[in-house]
Symmetry: C2
Subunit: 267 residues, 2 copies
């Protein structure tokens, strides 16, 4: 049985199915998915890491336009934080695309302390959202995070909040998920719940973060962030002269990133 | 104003009062406390660290028997963990000296998950204790720790538990303390609450950890731990031949540590 070493150091069984599913989610064809798996399987070796496998996958995905970039979503989100884009800002922007009204970084008076609530999101219900962001793989949100989110909710729910919600860009432990059921805590993690996971929320509406564009300099990222351009989509949503005015980027840089945005969005 | 750099990197005002109080708590005379402060003040310099101040203090405390060792309690407790003595085992032993019945590392079924409860302690009431141990200065237990302790308590209180309790060998943040009042969470931290702080619980009954003895080799620590000798007091409580049998230590080593134990306890 082929084993793979994860970022956390743990080992798991090599799963072609995961790669297959990931490629389809990223808009690749079944042919491309099968070809990629064959390519990876030819290159398997003892003690291979998930990182090395990802490199092989991405190499092969270049055959179809934009698939490689979209497949690399997880890593792009991990590089949001260091770029200055707080995860809660990105997640709130996603929620707005799904019809929620959101407010960011709220200070609410609890019984004895002021609680900082990352996002309040409202549709039919009002949710108190705690965001747990990790900028490296191998971390996950666990039972403790689920418990303090619930305790924070209890402390502030008098502000007309209906449910607690824990959102993370990584995985969530099984005990956190089980606990969540008992206290009606909603969880959104990278791959859970299957039909409303972070990955799926992003891919279904193509809400790719701008960090999916390769080789952005820190200066460029900073200018995009200051102009509140967070989605790759934003780069084709506005006319070029407006983007230029808002970001102060050079024509050359702007053309390059718009061309990449089009590739990612198959536009 | 003289500033001191703490282990966390923060700066604080130099406080002779803290040193004075610490020396008296460690059984030193007022004369010794005043002398020590003069000695430290002579050696103050820009950007001095708390660590450097501690070295000056300890140097001067040698004039009275056992005071230096007892003053160094905080550091001795921080080196418990790496010695293999879990903090919860030490804290439970302290509580037993104060009349509690304790059970360690309990697995209790919550609504949907099994919760690991570090200590259950009973006197008039039954307490669920969460221990938060740090092996370096500059860390502290904060609001999140207080919140998940409370949430864990809510999940398991049906097992006839009356109150949650957070115990830590470092400090506790102000927000954790305020929050605790609102949910009837008991807190024991290094210096809080003043009359029942960890430091005071230990010093009032001389429940010094064996790591207060200097230059214990790891092998010796391990043998003491295996023999369940955790307090300095244990080394004078039992006859030497029994200690020898339980620990398998050489006569020489045993004599050396018993002599230090007597010094610490002024015996």
């Amino acid at each position: 049985m082929q084993e793979v070493i994860k970022a956390s150091g743990e080992r798991e069984k090599f799963s072609p199915k995961k790669i297959y599913r990931g490629i389809l989610l990223a808009g690749g064809s079944k042919t491309l998915a099968n070809e990629t798996i064959s390519f990876v399987e030819k290159n398997l070796k003892k003690n291979i890491t998930t990182e090395e496998i990802l490199t092989f996958v991405l190499k092969n995905l270049k055959k179809e336009r934009g698939v490689a970039q979209r497949y690399d979503l997880k890593r792009a989100i991990m590089s949001l934080g260091p770029s200055g884009f707080p995860f809660e800002t990105y997640f709130a922007a996603i929620l707005r695309e799904y019809g929620y009204k959101t407010t960011l970084r709220n200070l609410l008076q609890g019984k004895n302390v002021k609680q900082e609530v990352d996002i309040i999101a409202r549709n039919k219900y009002a949710y108190m959202i705690e965001c747990k962001y990790h900028n490296s793989s191998g971390n996950y949100a666990g039972l403790k995070e689920a418990m303090y989110t619930y305790a924070r909710f209890l402390d502030v729910k008098k502000h007309k909040l209906d449910f607690p919600w824990l959102a993370t860009n990584t995985k969530c432990s099984d005990s956190a998920k089980s606990y969540a059921i008992g206290v009606q805590l909603k969880i959104t993690s990278w791959n859970f719940p299957k039909e409303e996971s972070l990955q799926k929320l992003i891919q279904d509406k193509e809400l790719y973060p701008i960090t999916l564009i390769r080789d952005l300099s820190n200066e460029t990222k900073h200018k995009l962030y200051s102009a509140q351009l967070m989605f790759v989509r934003d780069l084709i949503r506005y006319p070029e002269h407006e983007l230029k005015k808002r970001t102060q980027l050079s024509d050359e840089t702007l053309k390059k990133i718009i061309s990449q945005a089009k590739e990612i969005l198959n536009y």
